[in-house]
C-alpha cells in the first residue's frame, strides 16, 4: 500500500493542549477516519497535516516529498482541507462558490470560471449531486446541500488528497449518510485520498478503510476499523462501557446505560 501522507514525531504544545510524538501514515487512494474524544487533537492534527499549523517538532511528507519543499502553489494543487462549517460565507451562487476552488490555478486577472474550468466545475457538481442547484444562492440551500457544495469546492481544487474536518457534524442523519455515501463513491471512482475527522464511530467503521484513534494528544490505535472497533477500544479511547454488535457489516455501539437513567 503506497502512502499519501507520512508524519513522524509530530509534537505541538499550546498551553494545556499538546500533541505528543505522533507517527502515522495515510494510505493513498483510501478513506481514512481520524476519531477520538473531544479535545484529543483531531482537528489540530488535520491542520498540521495541511500546513495551516506549524508543529513544534516533526516531519511531514506528502507523496514521499517533505511538505516544506512544496511551494505554496504546488501545495494547493496537492492537498486541501475543508474546515468545519463555522465561518459564514459571502452571498454567492453555488457555482460561484465552487469556482473558488479554481483559484490555485489562476493568475491575478484570470476569471475563476474560465472556459477550461467549466468542465471541472460541471464534473464536481455532478459528483456531489448539486448540478441542479448550481444557480441557486448558497444560503438558501439546506444544510446537507450546503455541505455538498462546500465539498464540491474542495474537489474543484483537483488535489490528490482532501482532508475534511467533521463533514457530517450539524447534519441530520439522512444528510449524514448522503454525504458519507457520496464521499465513499467519489473515493472508489476516482481514487481520491480522503481523510476525515469523524465523531460517529459507526459511520467511520462502515465507510472507511483505515481508522486512526487519538486520545489526549497521542496516537492510541491505528488499523482497519472493523478489527479495531471492540468493546476494549471504546473503553480505552472514550472511557465508557459499551458492546459492539454487528448488523451485517454495520457496527452498532450499544452503551451500558446505568439503571437509574430512566427507560422501562
Amino acid at each position: 500500500m503506497t502512502t499519501a501522507i507520512e508524519a513522524s514525531g509530530i509534537c505541538l504544545s499550546r498551553g494545556h493542549f499538546r500533541l505528543e510524538d505522533i507517527d502515522l501514515s495515510i494510505p493513498k487512494g483510501k478513506l481514512t477516519a481520524i476519531v477520538g474524544p473531544n479535545g484529543s487533537g483531531k482537528s489540530t492534527l488535520l491542520r498540521i497535516l495541511v500546513r495551516l499549523l506549524q508543529p513544534d517538532q516533526g516531519q511531514i511528507s506528502v507523496h514521499g516529498k517533505s511538505a516544506d519543499r512544496y511551494s505554496l502553489r504546488e501545495w494547493s494543487h496537492t492537498i486541501t482541507m475543508l474546515p468545519q462549517l463555522k465561518e459564514s460565507l459571502p452571498q454567492l451562487t453555488v457555482r460561484e462558490l465552487v469556482a473558488y476552488g479554481r483559484a490555485p490555478y489562476k493568475k491575478r486577472f484570470q476569471p475563476l470560471q474560465g472556459a477550461e474550468d467549466r468542465d471541472v466545475l460541471e464534473q464536481v457538481m455532478q459528483w456531489t449531486g448539486i448540478s441542479m442547484y448550481s444557480e441557486r444562492m448558497f444560503h438558501t440551500l439546506s444544510g446537507g446541500e450546503q455541505q455538498r457544495a462546500r465539498i464540491a469546492m474542495a474537489l474543484a481544487q483537483q488535489t490528490d488528497i482532501v482532508l475534511l474536518d467533521e463533514p457530517t457534524t450539524f447534519l441530520d442523519i439522512a444528510h449524514q449518510f448522503e454525504v458519507m455515501d457520496m464521499l465513499h463513491r467519489i473515493n472508489r471512482e476516482t481514487g481520491l485520498t480522503i481523510v476525515m475527522v469523524l465523531h460517529d464511530l459507526q459511520q467511520a467503521a462502515a465507510y472507511c478503510d483505515v481508522m486512526i484513534a487519538l486520545r489526549q494528544g497521542r496516537l492510541a490505535a491505528c488499523g482497519h476499523p472493523l478489527e479495531l472497533l471492540t468493546d476494549d477500544f471504546i473503553r480505552d479511547i472514550y472511557g465508557m462501557n459499551a458492546t459492539i454488535q454487528f448488523q451485517g457489516r454495520y457496527p452498532v455501539i450499544v452503551p451500558e446505560i446505568p439503571h437509574h437513567s430512566g427507560g422501562r
Binding site: 505554496l72 476552488g101 441557486r136
Partner: protein
C-alpha cells in the same frame, strides 16, 4: 405510505420549492441591482458634479456654464467656475472615491463591519502630523498635505507592527488601532492646549472640509489618488478570497498575511491621500461601502467600483449642500457628513437582517 409520511414529504417538497423560488428572486434581484447601480451611479455622479459647479454662494445658470466652456472669455463666472468650483468638485470626487474604496477594502480584510480608515490610524496620524506642522512649524505650512500623508501612512505601519505576533489578526489590528488612535488623539489635544493661540488655523482642517481647495491641491493629490484607485484592481481577487476566511484562502494557495498587509497599506494610501487635502472627513468610508454591500453583496468586482462612484458623489453633494445651506457660512463638509452619516448608520444598525448580521 401513512398519512404522516405523506404530510412530511409534502412539507419537504414545499420547503424546497420555497427555497428555490427565494433563491431565484435573490439571484434576479442581485443582477437587476448591479445593472441599476452601474447605470445610476455614473449618471448621479455627473448630475451632482454639475450641481456642485452651478450651485453655491453665487448660482450660475446652465447656459452660462456652456458659454464659459465654449468661448472661454474671461468673466466673473469663468473665474468662479474654473478657479473655484471645478477644482473643488474634482478634489471632492477623488476624496470621496478614495475614502469609500479604503473603507470597502478594510471592512473586508479586517472582517469587521465597523472598520473604516480611522481604525488603521490614518486620521489620528494625519491629524497629529498636520497639527505639528501648522502650530510648531508654521513656516512650512505649504508642506501640510505631505506631512499629513506621511503621518497617516507611518501610523498605519506602526499599528500593523504592533499587532504582529505570528501574523496580524484583524482583531489585534483593530485593538492596536484603537490604542494608538487614543494616544495620538491625546498628543494632538495636548498640542492644541499648549499652542492654543495658533490653533485657529488648524480647526477647519481637523473638522474636514474642501473649503478653498484649488488646482494646487488637486495636482498634489491626483497622482496618489489615481494610482491608489488603480491599484484596487489588484486587490479584487485577494479580497474576495479573504472573504472565505483565512484558512480557506490559505488552502487555495493564497499568501494571506502578505495580501492582508498589502491591502491595508493600499487602504492607508487611499485614506492618507484623502486626509492630506480634505482633513478628517468621517463616515464616507464607513457608510458608502455598507450601502453598496447591502444592495449588491460583497463581490469586490462590483463593490469597489460602485463604492468609489458612490463615495465621490456623496462627498461632492454634501460639500455643495454644506457651502450653500447656511450661506454665507460655509460648513466644513466633514461636519455635515457626520450629521447625515451617524443617524443613517444607526438606522442601518436597527434594520433587521442587514450588514451586521
Amino acid at each position: 405510505m401513512s398519512n404522516t409520511d405523506l404530510q412530511q414529504k409534502a412539507h419537504r417538497v414545499l420547503k424546497q420549492l420555497r427555497n428555490s423560488q427565494q433563491s431565484q428572486t435573490d439571484l434576479r434581484q442581485r443582477a437587476r441591482r448591479r445593472l441599476m447601480l452601474a447605470i445610476l451611479l455614473p449618471v448621479l455622479l455627473v448630475l451632482v458634479s454639475l450641481y456642485g459647479i452651478l450651485h453655491g454662494a453665487v448660482s450660475i445658470p446652465l447656459q452660462e456654464l456652456f458659454s464659459v466652456w465654449l468661448h472661454g472669455q474671461p468673466s466673473v463666472y469663468r473665474t468662479i467656475v474654473m478657479d473655484l468650483r471645478v477644482p473643488r468638485v474634482l478634489v471632492g470626487l477623488l476624496v470621496g472615491a478614495c475614502l469609500a474604496a479604503s473603507g470597502a477594502l478594510l471592512q473586508g480584510v479586517m472582517k469587521n463591519p465597523l472598520a473604516d480608515p480611522g481604525i488603521i490610524g490614518v486620521s489620528a496620524g494625519g491629524g497629529m502630523a498636520a497639527m505639528i506642522t501648522m502650530v510648531m512649524l508654521p513656516q512650512f505650512s505649504y508642506l501640510l498635505p505631505i506631512s499629513a500623508f506621511a503621518g497617516s501612512f507611518t501610523t498605519a505601519i506602526v499599528i500593523y507592527m504592533m499587532a504582529w505576533e505570528r501574523g496580524a489578526s484583524p482583531v489585534k489590528i483593530v485593538l492596536a488601532g484603537v490604542a494608538v488612535n487614543a494616544l495620538l488623539g491625546a498628543f494632538t489635544n495636548g498640542i492644541m492646549v499648549i499652542f492654543s493661540d495658533r490653533v485657529q488655523a488648524v480647526l477647519p482642517w481637523l473638522s474636514g472640509g474642501l473649503n478653498g481647495r484649488s488646482w494646487h491641491h488637486l495636482e498634489f493629490m491626483a497622482p496618489y489618488a489615481i494610482i491608489g484607485l488603480l491599484l484596487c484592481l489588484f486587490a479584487i481577487q485577494p479580497a474576495n478570497l479573504l472573504l472565505l476566511g483565512d484558512d480557506s484562502a490559505r488552502l487555495l494557495g493564497q499568501r494571506v498575511e502578505l495580501q492582508r498587509f498589502m491591502i491595508i497599506m493600499l487602504a492607508a494610501l487611499l485614506a492618507g491621500t484623502a486626509v492630506s487635502v480634505a482633513g478628517l472627513v468621517g463616515f464616507v468610508g464607513l457608510v458608502v461601502p455598507h450601502m453598496i454591500r447591502l444592495l449588491i453583496g460583497e463581490d469586490y468586482r462590483f463593490l469597489l467600483p460602485f463604492s468609489m462612484l458612490g463615495g465621490g458623489t456623496l462627498v461632492v453633494f454634501a460639500d455643495t449642500v454644506a457651502r450653500s445651506w447656511l450661506d454665507p457660512i460655509e460648513l466644513p463638509v466633514g461636519i455635515l457628513l457626520a450629521v447625515l452619516g451617524a443617524p443613517f448608520f444607526l438606522y442601518l444598525l436597527k434594520r433587521k437582517g442587514t450588514v451586521l448580521s
